[in-house]
Amino acid sequence: MTTTKTSSPVSAAPRGRRIQFGRFRDLTLVPVIVVLLIAGSFVDPIFLTPGNLTNVLQQQSALALVVLAEALILIAGKFDLSLESTVGMAPAVGVMLVIPVAAGGFGLELPGILAIPLCLLVGGLVGAFNGFLIMRFQLSAFIVTLAMMIVVHGLQLGLTQGKSLFELPESFLYLGSATWLGLPAAIWIVGALFTVAIVALGYFRVGRSLYAIGGNADAARAVGVRVERVVWAVFVIGGIVAALAGVLETGRLGGISANQGVGWIFMAFAAAVIGGVSMDGGKGTILGALTGVLVIGLVENILTLKGVPGEWKQLVYGSIILVALMISRLAGGKAQD
């Protein structure tokens, strides 16, 4: 990327091209979404109804939060595979601290209202531990979070003895199941968090510093960015957001299965990357990641409406992600990192 040795004349900047394609780069998936909407309407007349589209958004809300968390971490030039395990483990531990032993709890029976704060705290702690190992201990983010993915999921299996939790406090289910102003609360929450992230990364110094760190950590350090602290904070935020994703998913389904979140991380990566977030860091936007989630959600919905047998879904799913990648590559024009 930075190996251009021959220098071009000083005035080589393309003055004439006043339209900056840069700002549209995160919207390269919009044509894909339009195609999917058109294709979907042919597949089933139900597809384009507000009810169905709301349904798509609600189903994707938890995944969307994991994508948000992963996008933040990727932009800062790091990696977190353990998010998917946090989606299951954090709610399970949060809930087990408040429910009675008979329902599968620890027997502490803390006030039910604390379940969600405890869940988010657990998520934040996982993120903090990842950050500690990666930033302080200087371990590779990939391996650390791969191990943590197994550890965190193993912790859930061990504590719950592999059982699902069904008797949950009402307050814990509320966010994932309530309806505000005619739309599921989960959609409002996801919308609000994405808005906050888009504004923070687009218009605030601390948000921009993620790009600087992901693009060139030494350069960021040289201009006074506290690289370690910022990246650590991003891991903590990522953990908390993943825990919140777990809360929404639990509320939507009414229980915590032993496999909640398992396998999500690949979808999260796929969504972030087809949305234009670079695996090398420093590139991509939160809005782009959101369009990636939408593509994944629409594809899943169309496959369900079309009645594609479960056994074939994975194949179609994977192929469509590849096609989306190729389309966004062609529309974006640049080689993917």
Binding site: T6, V10, F204
Partner: protein, 497 residues
Amino acid sequence: MTSSVKAVEALGITKRFGPTTALNGAEIAITEGETHALIGRNGAGKSTLVSILTGLQRPDEGEVRFAGEPAPPPADRDAWRQRVACVYQKSTIIPTLSVAENLFLNRQTERGRINWRTLRTRARQLLEQYGVDVDAETMAGDLGVEQRQLLEIARALSFGARFIILDEPTAQLDGPAIQRLFDRMRSLREQGVTMMFISHHLEEVYEICQSVSVFRDARHIVTASVGDLPHDRLVDAMTGEATAAYEYRTRTPGTSAPVVLSARALSLAGRYENVDLTVQAGEIVGLAGSGSSGKVGLAETLVGLHRADTGTVTVNGTEVRQGDVPSALRAGLGFVPQDRHHQGFVPLLSIAENATIPIAHKLGRFGAVSPARRRERGARMIEQLDIKTTGPDQPVADLSGGNAQKVVLARALADDPRALVVINPTAGVDVKAKHSLLGAVEDAADRGAGAVLVSDELDDLRICDRILVMFHGRIVKDVPRGWTDSELVAAMEGIDH
């Protein structure tokens, strides 16, 4: 010159990294308004001094003073930046961000929301103030090396510092770009900016600097005004011994010597057009020209890194498949690439392994490689090229630039090639390493190889028997030995035909 106030002073600086002492009681003092050169061989402690003067590292002992005042505490980056600006050897431009944002990195706004419109306006003003003709909205990654460097200079100065360190700014620029940089440095000096200039090119020191400090083996050796320190004494101070200037050998390649490397009617759109070239055994042919002349593209086509649109390349009598490096190597070609860090070596592998990659098949049977024979070959190469190392097992990543380049050259010579293509072999290496690298190329020619040498250095080109000058993708002149600098430069700039 105008006053004797010291813009910056470092006194008794000692810095150790584990067992190695990077600086040992070193000192430097730069008079305000002066352009001061800092020179020394690789490993002399220049880079460490730069990071101490810019506050990125604290010295173990000693102190730094700016205009007579003690340096700010290490955590106060803003205070440092107001006193000293630095254009580092390694780019600190972030390619995925716009020019405007790069200029105001981590200070896009005082507090609160970033107003992108204001930021762009401020960026345009800054670019205009320093005469940098770049669009503020372009992605920094789309800029060329020269533009990025101007961006770094403008950014560095925009903090208000009146002292700027330029760490090997000319290493990646071609002739005209270097001249533009020097023009800029002169006008900065007229505005009263003090500069510390680091370069391996002594002629640049004489051209742009008023005074010079030489470092060697982690110590300060001498500081003098450039007029008091002629070229050979400067080299002596750097090497610590009287080093004779490189002695160029003469060869008389017979007209009957076989042609070992040739190109016929070679064209590649946008790089070069209709190039014919023949190199005889025992001959060194130079390729000279500006950065946009197409000389590197042509050389890379000869070795198979590019596929030409039309034309043929013949190595040692065999027409090679274009765009196919293995085919060129099989035909008997050795190659030193332009950028050793990217194309030259595998940093974590040992010297012996790096140097023997092309001959690995000869070091064992059935695809196996005998480590003992590899070490033995490695040891021989280390001796032949005078590589400074702890042994053939040392990873190349641990070597200094000059010694790493020797490993790359050793690899090119490993199979005793009949044809040799060498691109910028002496970029970023010190005087002594330069001499042994050029010597090794001449040795190869004496052994009967034909070589193409691409270089931006007039000094390197002096080993050539003739020089083909390229201009805008065409060979415009065939210069025999005995040229003068001005003659060659004029041809490279396309001034005479």
